[in-house]
Amino acid sequence: MAGLATALGSGAMTNTIAEIGDSACILAAGTSTTEAHPIIGYQVKKAVRNGAKLIVVNPQEVPLTQFATLHLPLKPGTDVVLLMGMAKVIIDEGLHDQNYIDERCENFDKFKESLEVYTPEFVSDTTGLPWEDVVEAARMYAENGPASILYCMGITQHSHGTDNVLAVSNLALITGNLGRLSAGVNPLRGQNNVQGACDMGSLPNVFTGYQKVENDEARQKFEKAWGVSLSGKPGLTHTEIFDAAYKGDIKAIYLIGENPVLTEANAAHSNEAMDKLDFLVVQDIFLNETAQKADVVLPAVSFAEKNGTSVNTERRVQRVRRVIDPVGESKPDWWIVSAIANEMGYEGFAYNSAEEIFNEMAKLTPSFAGINYERLDQGSIQWPCPSKDHPGTPVLHKEKFATPSGKAKLAPLEYRPSEDCCDFDFPLILTTERSLYQFHSTMTRYSEGLDELSGGEQILINPVDAEKLGIADGDLVEVSSRRGKLKVKATITRRSQPGVASLSFHFAECPTNLLTSSALDPVAKTPETKVCAIRIDKV
């Protein structure tokens, strides 16, 4: 998100899901769309059916690949090189949109200069892709407009994830593919309300609507509304919080609806960090692996038992409505947090309904100011929606970008290799994937039937590597990295390229994140879970 925010001024999907079906070209980078976002996958397939070109950038052969016009199985972690190489081809061949660049972008000359190093040899050697394929992809993307870019964790979960995102937005900018229908740069958000949680300022550096805590004016507004004084120092990010707990700087954590024992990169480290805490409160719907470590566990209601709103990946604010009564004595999350605040003697948490909370929030948040429950009952609204008569915003950046100058900034980029490099002891790269039938680690494991369909965890290994290691299909293998090891069944398949293996991370029986690296992107602080040096041994 940080990358897009730097370049365009806003870190959200620029266009809507329904527009994707009308794109003339789709570049799907680091997304297994049909598995992780099946409904968006329908749109991609619809576009292909209508004659659109589909370029799939993914080290693995994912189900989406079978619909691709061109699949680029690059070496994990070399996306910047590929994307900058494509940009070089586009500019060298004059396929860029000079008028658009002149009118709406900054920094073009420096950007152009930075492309010099991306020679055919360098690009081809680094990514492992034939140069002709890179050229073909560049032409395909530049010559078929409107072109839409979809990306997901395969782009962001790297120690250079922000650079990857900037490389993606560079491509869209030089071809004029931002601010128009069926084009854009579209990060596909993973969780039902991850966009909403970001919008609400469940982030260490911003209040609601991305108003910075460092900004005096913003902070004073919230201080006045809440009747307290507030800190202007940005807090710690997710991985940093666990690091601080490990060091003993953080002593108490209130953890809501998450299962870091399975989902946190370098899980052994964060597990130990949680064990060191003085006080851990976990609020969840199940006694998951993390809750079992808690000092207090609070039962929350599920989505089916609460009223409220959520924001989907296309910035669409929609009503969540209560279907059944709370199970047992479980309570809505806002009720529980408010009860603690009340008990601690704070006023300003005397809420009686979700709607009251929404209205307080909308008053403090310009991009939500025009939204209320009454309007949402008539239909969903895409933010920004600054006033009651504003229809919402399906396409961002139509007239100008949300940066201070109104122009988008092209980013010169250097290739930085992934931090967790292969060597003699750890010669293979592990990347992580998702299954259509599972969702992260908790909910789907409790839904009857999904486990049966997903077939459990397996590591995907290329036949070339398997032969070298003497591993047969179905063998139990031990996978080890510099941080941990686990045992899992091997599947021998060409879906993995030679030198690369993959695992999902849904299963407590096989905690993949014991292996992964928590090396962080310096800006976005996203861990490098998509590249991890490993060794595979037959058990």
Binding site: I39, V48, C198, I285, D295, R316
Partner: protein, 346 residues
């Protein structure tokens, strides 16, 4: 938008956009024409032949495959039409297992609806019927059942899988009287490329494709799917405080009437017996049940000791906008720190 076309159906003047079929134009104007294989989400194919109409100056034709024309005069019922339609319906019903009482689709079946409207001749059917219906029931999928003895070969499932899911894992197999819908190699569905989106189950007009253990909900509520970031509009049904069904909201902006396997079939976690139902407090190493008062008071007391940067909230992208607003307000205003983040980076 191009100009609307005017036509007359059974003496009623109606308007429709160019390219619309007579069938869909009539239905949109509240005029029923019996039909089975046509579905508004899919291309028309004219398989079932029960939507026959007469057009002035032409031979009887299927209304689903004939686009509207200016000044067209259409008749939907006449002695000839009724007779032909009846024969066509009889051919559909002929080898259909009409043990309706035990069928999950009973009273929601489009074949029943057609039979009521058109009527059929039992004697003639008895004379032509295959001596035995014997396709085995395919119950290999955990979420839905395929009973090919109830299939009327309308092809809606085939088109759905191809046009909506884009998977194309089923198609017509064999020929003549042996024709059936099958996956590659006529294997059980679980051994195919089926991704269990259930789009075909949702559209099957008869009892050939039905959800396993279907329970009729007592009421339904429109809400948003709890899984990924697509934000699909869904109608969730419940009976006795238990989630029993879910279906897509037709025309919902994000999902346009579709759902995936998780949204359609994966909600049973809500009523799983392992749900947490009471607060738990660790006492002598064990988590034991406690009252809300005790838990809240303990937390308030403890959190009071860790205000500032020794405290952090891990908020949740699974919780609502309102939940998250309160969490960050609590962290900043009460705990006096900006140490709050959630899984957005993971």
């Amino acid at each position: 938008m191009s100009e609307l076309i005017t036509l007359t159906v059974d003496g009623v003047e109606i308007k429709a956009a160019p390219g619309t079929s007579i069938l869909r134009a009539a239905l949109a104007n509240g005029i029923y024409i019996p039909h089975l294989c046509d579905h508004p989400d899919l291309t028309s194919v004219g398989i079932c032949r029960v939507c026959l109409v007469e057009i002035e100056g032409r031979r009887p034709t299927v209304s689903c495959m004939t686009p509207v024309e200016e000044g067209m005069v259409v008749t939907t019922a006449s002695e000839d039409l009724d007779q032909t339609r009846k024969v066509n319906l009889e051919l559909l019903v002929l080898n259909h297992d009409y043990n309706c009482q035990s069928c999950d689709k009973n009273s929601k079946c489009q074949l029943q609806e057609l039979t009521r409207y058109i009527g059929l001749d039992e004697e003639r059917i008895k004379a032509m019927r295959k001596p035995m219906l014997d396709s085995p029931i395919d119950d290999s999928n955990p979420y839905y059942i395929r009973d090919m003895d109830k299939c009327v070969l309308c092809g809606i499932c085939v088109r759905t899988c191809d046009e909506i899911q884009g998977d194309g894992c089923i198609d017509f197999a064999y020929r003549g009287i042996k024709t059936k819908i099958a996956v590659l190699g006529d294997k059980p569905i679980i051994d195919s490329t089926c991704v269990t989106c259930g789009e075909c189950v949702a559209r099957c007009p008869v009892g050939a494709l039905v959800p396993r253990n279907a329970v009729e909900p007592t009421y339904e509520v429109e809400t948003i799917c709890p899984f990924c970031g697509c934000g699909c509009g869904m109608v969730v049904g419940a009976r006795g405080n238990k989630i029993v069904s879910s279906r897509a909201v037709s025309g919902s902006p994000a999902n346009n009437g579709s759902l995936c396997v998780k949204g359609r079939f994966g909600l049973s976690f809500v009523n799983h017996p392992d749900r947490l139902t009471k607060p738990l407090i660790r006492k002598e190493g064990e988590l034991v049940e406690a009252s809300w008062e005790e838990a809240i008071s303990l937390i308030a007391d403890k959190f009071g000791q860790y205000k500032g940067d020794q405290y952090a909230t891990i908020a949740s992208a699974k919780c609502t906008v309102e939940d998250n607003y309160v969490m960050q307000k609590f962290t900043r205003a009460v705990m006096e720190t900006n140490n709050i983040d959630h899984c957005a980076r993971l």
